[in-house]
Symmetry: C2
Subunit: 480 residues, 2 copies
């Protein structure tokens, strides 16, 4: 490594030394994000935003395939609407931003910047819905929301974030439940297929469910540091909001009924998940499905005749098929470029130099395994295509392995405390189902019940924490 290279590769704090600092170093040095002048608000830079665009594109297709359409509802919600559903206002009022003035005039009623849109959407649904023939309502919106947070970290918890929120109405409880689980499943498939991020899916406890929900379902991922990330939630809202907002329709017998209601959302938080599940001490490792640049071509000895021409030829060949970039900057050495693109997590680097050209080959470097191999230029496209697939599978495999290694079965409170002290992760344990017991666990250890997984295992008959009769097997963890 030349002096110049060393100068460039600013140190990323190793994750074993200080995980939080590692995260901050990575997001700042890879130009994903920046802090803004307003505390707790982030600027998503183009490299980070491009990841979000790739997530959006995939998910929006999945939503549309399942019959959902996008709408746009207003940013500002009157205080009186927010207050209509009692649990909801209690949950959200403490963390909303209030608009009190429009231009020079004080408003007669305060407006909150949407923290989520159930209330304004229900208000509109109450005007739109007439007959059972109109059902189901299957709408989604992509937007930003604001929740005033005291302690923030880019992508993971910020006072503003980007997300999608789906809001649907159905004739029956069963239809709403089916929708809730269908969307959770789409989230799970997005996480695992697109982001190579394995998730545990299940139901939230009463304490942890969404303010105003009948039942909340979640997907939970495990990060490198053993903390869990709630990566997406889907709520069966029952008739709580549809009653509070007096949404009615005439059913097949002509009777007035309240419909059943769901909402579901994922956010830019997913990007935080990608970073903390796949990243390493060199920086980002991006899954090919969302990497803004899937392949970077770096010419070697580019001043030598024919090298730049060949690099350009390969670029033209791959363009349109992959998200590819040619790094032909003449003020940086190949070594400097290698370091930069590795830090930025580009899945594949193609190196092409005079010797490669002689042999009709290129070197393919894979970021996930830091390995290089020569590939014939005759099969370059196929080789890249296969390697991207392989990288995706490998990332999912490695993430599952990491998670499994950090998942423990515990039989007692003490055992959990010990495990969490030594090497934190997911804990599987039997639980009584009581709120007091859950609150006690959290107060004592900071550990929370992440979910009651759909895949139950029988780990015994008594609650590991209070000794009462066990009701469920649950996943616990410290969480972001």
């Amino acid at each position: 490594m030349s002096k110049k290279d060393k100068q460039f590769v600013e140190e990323i704090t190793p994750m074993e030394v200080d995980f939080a600092q590692w995260y901050t170093d990575v997001i700042k040095k890879t130009d994903l994000v920046d802090y803004s002048p307003v505390k707790g608000f982030m600027v998503i830079k183009h490299y980070g935003y491009a990841i979000w665009e790739n997530i959006q594109k995939y998910m929006d297709n999945r939503f549309k395939e399942t019959g959902h359409k996008n709408c746009y509802f207003p940013l500002l919600i009157p205080e009186s609407l927010l207050k209509k559903e009692a649990e909801h206002v209690e949950g959200f009022a403490p963390e909303v931003a209030w608009v009190t003035h429009g231009g020079d005039e004080e408003l007669a009623e305060r407006l909150c910047v949407r923290p989520t849109s159930e209330t304004i959407i229900c208000e509109m649904y109450s005007r739109w819905l007439k007959s059972y023939r109109d059902l189901p309502f299957l709408y989604n919106q992509w937007c930003s929301v604001v929740r005033w947070e005291k302690s923030t970290r880019p992508f993971l918890r910020t006072s503003e974030f980007l997300w999608q929120e789906g809001h649907t109405l159905h004739e029956t409880y069963e239809d709403a439940q089916e929708e809730t689980l269908q969307m959770l499943n789409i989230y799970k498939e997005t996480a695992e297929e697109l982001l190579a991020m394995p998730v545990v899916v299940g139901q939230k406890s009463e304490k942890e469910k969404f303010a105003g929900a009948y039942a909340t379902y979640t997907m939970e991922a495990l990060m490198h540091d053993g903390k869990a990330l709630q990566a997406g939630t889907s709520h069966n809202l029952g008739q709580h909001f549809t009653t509070a907002f007096d949404i009615t329709y005439s059913d097949r017998n002509g009777d007035l009924k309240h419909p059943y209601h769901t909402s579901w959302g994922v956010s830019t938080r997913l990007i935080g998940g990608i970073i903390m599940v796949h990243g390493d001490n060199r920086g980002l490792v991006l899954p090919p499905g969302v990497a803004p640049v899937q392949v970077v071509i770096v010419p070697i000895a580019s001043h030598k005749e024919g090298v730049l021409d060949k690099a350009n030829e390969l670029f033209s060949q791959l363009k349109g098929k992959f998200r590819v970039e040619l790094d032909d900057r003449d003020n940086y050495s190949p070594g400097w470029k290698f370091n930069e693109w590795e830090m930025k997590g580009v899945p594949i680097r193609i190196e092409i130099g005079p010797k490669d050209i002689e042999k009709n080959q290129a070197m393919l470097f894979r970021r996930d395994e830091l390995e290089k191999e020569a590939v014939s230029l005759d099969n370059l496209e196929e080789a890249v295509d296969n390697l991207l697939r392989d990288i995706n599978n490998n990332l999912l495999y490695k993430a599952k392995k990491m998670r499994d290694e950090k998942t423990y079965i515990v039989k007692s409170f003490d055992e959990m405390k010990e495990v969490m002290d030594i090497k934190p992760g997911f804990v599987k344990a039997m639980w009584c189902g009581e709120r007091e017991c859950e609150e006690h666990i959290k107060a004592e250890t900071g550990v929370t019940i992440r979910c009651i997984p759909f895949e139950q295992e029988d780990l015994g008959h008594t609650c590991a924490f209070c000794g009462k009769e066990a009701k469920h097997m649950v996943y616990l963890a410290k969480a972001y």
Copy 2:
């Protein structure tokens, strides 16, 4: 038309009777939009939002082809930042919404909901820009903005709207000017090619330019009622903001310089333009490029054997190639469906009934000309493809014709007043270039100078309004 049909087809006020009411009827009855509980804020329903998605998709591609990348900047801007550029704050402060409380706490500094993002973006650019090697900065964002409006109308003027805002930095004035005009040209091509909406392009007068701009360029379209719509603007901001925000870089000689700056935006206002340029007394007429449904298939006598099967077959055949819907609802008559889809502006309706099947044909109805012709099922795809193209060309042709018929050359103030009284439209006239003269025209007539068009014509040597020496030929109109 059966009784049921008549019942359904609620009257749309004819545009000749009351254009404003016609507009309101059309947007409400076609489910484009709804009013929200907050005055001046609109809900964009799925049919309206799908138009916006089609516009976004086209434009986003054009932006990316020309090297622009998307980012996301915070929704809330500190008051102190808004105040940094003097003209800018004067222009926007009276119409911003102020956030004064986060949760239960009063904020130390008020935050405005972005009315546009020059200030927050310049603040970030000042941190990011170091060297001439970093230039140009070519970033865009898709978001919503809030401007507190006293008098609003959906899509045309609302207190919140969706838009894109591009913000770029360049080494030289010439580069910035080239960018400004390049983006205006992309806007013009979007308007004419995608929306079939002819526009006049040119420069805004000093009075009408963007608050803080060095020069503002605009595209202006003429609506059915003879009023102009400013449909998109591109600003050369010179060094106004880059000086105020102290954005500097070291140039090729190592000297510190302020870069040159542009911004450019179009909004959901374009949808208002589409409605008022192409619509008629039956409702919407949507250009094929943005129509959420390009082709609707309506089976005739669908209870007869084979009809629904055939309709489904056609649907499968066209799906994936066009945005197509099969209207197989059994509780509406074909006549009712015809009316509904015509009102919703769907470019092509395919009717298929027993007699058509016998003859191996379908009837193709085109919304723009309200004409029907039989087409062999052997060439259906090709016929639909050709007809969509033809409809697009025809809409542009008709809109140009309408505009030309409503464009007048005037030589005096009196002549303009007379013309504007009888049948309003675009007025072309010579103008002295003086602000007082411009203000006098507006105060007397409500007519404004829409732009100094790039295509100048020599209509004389004296200002039509004050008699002084003429400087430019300008377009004038009453405007939305």
